[in-house]
């Protein structure tokens, strides 16, 4: 615990805060907190790839793998234990990303963006035309059980909320460690200049592959948690427009810190609820305009505002840490 930095402490403190919110906030808002934690993990996955300069327009692929792993485990194997489901989802995403990574790690920039999109659309089209899995309508998920304990009603919702919070914060903390570690540093160097990274004696391909697989794993965990709390999965999870929203969150929130995409997802989800109610046909337009404004005026996202503000108040000692 003593080598925790500011971000990690913030994540530790966030756990009791999230638990308090569950009790204090109205039911519907708690629901959005829970759902945005699942989606936030996918945004986090997009963010760590963005650090390497790689824009994934197909992160919905693993979001969907997670969701469908949860659904199919119950449908075909009769498994509703959330820990078994998580293991299955992680295994599925590891295998899939391990294989796809062999192809994708050779590509950068727009090719990476569009190939991840295309791969995700393969799953989308397969699921959309498979009648056994409900085609485009998807199917319902069961109530989660925990090592033989199957809570129902309020208790069930609360149990899932606690598990979601715990997993999300732990994943975020581990990702934070990863970004500070050797591969995290290499990944940033790849964005700056890949060829020089290789001259220094490291394999850019291997680092990209590792980052891609880690992103896949946390996306599938996010997919499981999201699907279990919603109780329903559809192929729409793998559609590129879903993935586009995760990209949007990262552009808006910035890649400065692991907390940024998590908070960004929640803010966006709440905004969406209001926007869709007030004017359903302009939501995407608002997204597009905000995205353009962010790209032009805040290329490092909203998080950079926070960094600037805290740098001004703490000019000396923390200046280096802020860049983490």
């Amino acid at each position: 615990m003593k080598d925790f930095d500011k971000t990690e402490w913030a994540l530790v403190i966030a756990f009791p805060v999230l638990l308090a919110l569950m009790v204090l906030l109205p039911r519907w808002l708690v629901n959005y907190v829970q759902i945005s934690m699942g989606m936030g993990l996918v945004a986090l996955a997009v963010m760590i790839q963005m650090r390497a300069g790689l824009v994934s327009f197909g992160q919905g692929l693993y979001f969907c793998v997670g969701g469908y792993a949860a659904g199919m485990a119950d449908k075909f194997l009769g498994i509703s234990d959330i820990f078994l489901i998580l293991i299955l989802a992680v295994a599925a995403s590891l295998v899939l990303s391990g294989v796809l990574g062999l192809l994708l790690r050779r590509y950068r920039e727009i090719f990476f963006a569009m190939l991840t999109l295309a791969v995700s659309m393969i799953l989308f089209s397969l699921l959309s035309s498979s009648h056994g899995l409900g085609s485009t309508d998807g199917f319902n998920l069961p109530q989660a059980s925990y090592l033989g304990w199957t809570p129902t009603g309020e208790t069930g919702t609360a149990a899932l909320y606690v598990l979601t919070a715990l997993l999300t914060l732990t994943s975020a903390a581990l990702i934070h460690r990863f970004l500070r570690g050797p591969v995290g540093k290499i990944v940033e160097a790849i964005r700056e200049n890949e060829l020089r990274v290789e001259y220094l004696g490291t394999s850019a391909h291997a680092s990209v592959h590792a980052t891609y697989m880690i992103a896949a794993v946390i996306s599938s965990i996010g997919g499981v948690l999201w699907a279990m709390s919603l109780g329903h999965v559809t192929p729409e999870m793998a559609n590129w427009t879903t993935s586009g929203q995760f990209v949007f969150i990262v552009i808006l929130a910035g890649t400065g810190n692991v907390i940024a995409p998590l908070v960004g997802t929640f803010v966006l989800e709440v905004l969406r609820v209001y926007a869709v109610e007030v004017s359903p046909n302009t939501w995407q337009m608002i997204l597009g305009i905000v995205m353009l404004l962010t790209i032009v005026f805040l290329p490092k996202g909203l998080w950079s505002l926070l960094e600037r503000a805290s740098k001004r108040s703490l000019p000396h000692e923390h200046a280096q840490e802020q860049s983490q």
Partner: protein
Amino acid sequence: MFTTVAIILDGFGFAAWLFLSSVGLTLIYGVMRILNISHGGFYALGAYSAAWAIGLYTQTGNTIALTYLIIPVAAIVVGILTGLLVERGLLRFMYGHEEVLMVLVTYAVFLILEDVTKLIWGTESYVAYQPAFWLGTVDVAGIPYTIYKFLIIGIAVAVGAGLYWGLNHTRVGKLLLVVIHDREVSAALGINVTLFFTVTFVIGTTLGALGGALTAPEISVVPGIGAEVIVMAFAVIVIGGMGSIGGAMIGAVIVGFARAMSVHLYPPVEMFSIYLVMAVVLAVRPYGLFALAEGRKI
């Protein structure tokens, strides 16, 4: 025999549609190095405006022939107006940024165009079957085939030939090839690169709108068609090599036939087959069939 003829007919039908929907995308990428995701938005705008205009016109009960003029006119008006607006109003301020950033910018434009379409035409579907219906069908080896499809195949060939001729046999086209080859040197030679960019973008978006407008009589125009077409168009141009017009043509034929074969032999894999072809091509030729290799910059 029956299936073979059907596959060949549908293969060329799909290919023509794919080529018309994607050639604008590859043209803009070739000249401007912008992968224009908003292309799907222009496609949808073209489809909606054509369907809407045809609907209005047929209610007046005037002569049929003019309907066929409405399709290109609607596409050209929409393509030029919105194309100019997007390029002059936004993209020109973003030139010189990384390619991947331009993808995000055009994605934002795509989102905006989606809602513009919904705000103008609402969310209900538009049907403008008349132009396709009036031409009737023709029997090809016992299979009835709509003449409108042949018309689209003809237009696709004409557009492809026109672009080829325009690029290789006119002064402007040759200058454009210079701009594609080296933007800075051509600016130094006194070529107005900015003007070429604007014109290229507008031609590209007009082609996108034309693709949508020509498709409108064959489908029911609903929200979301733009998001579908952009993925398909990308598969087509990436197979041929991004920026190559000949490549887009080959890519369209390959994808068109892959789709026609799966439709007639094993329908559930219809969409899957497109991406499968793309994955196989890219695994062998990472930057498409006709892309030129580029040196890595240190």
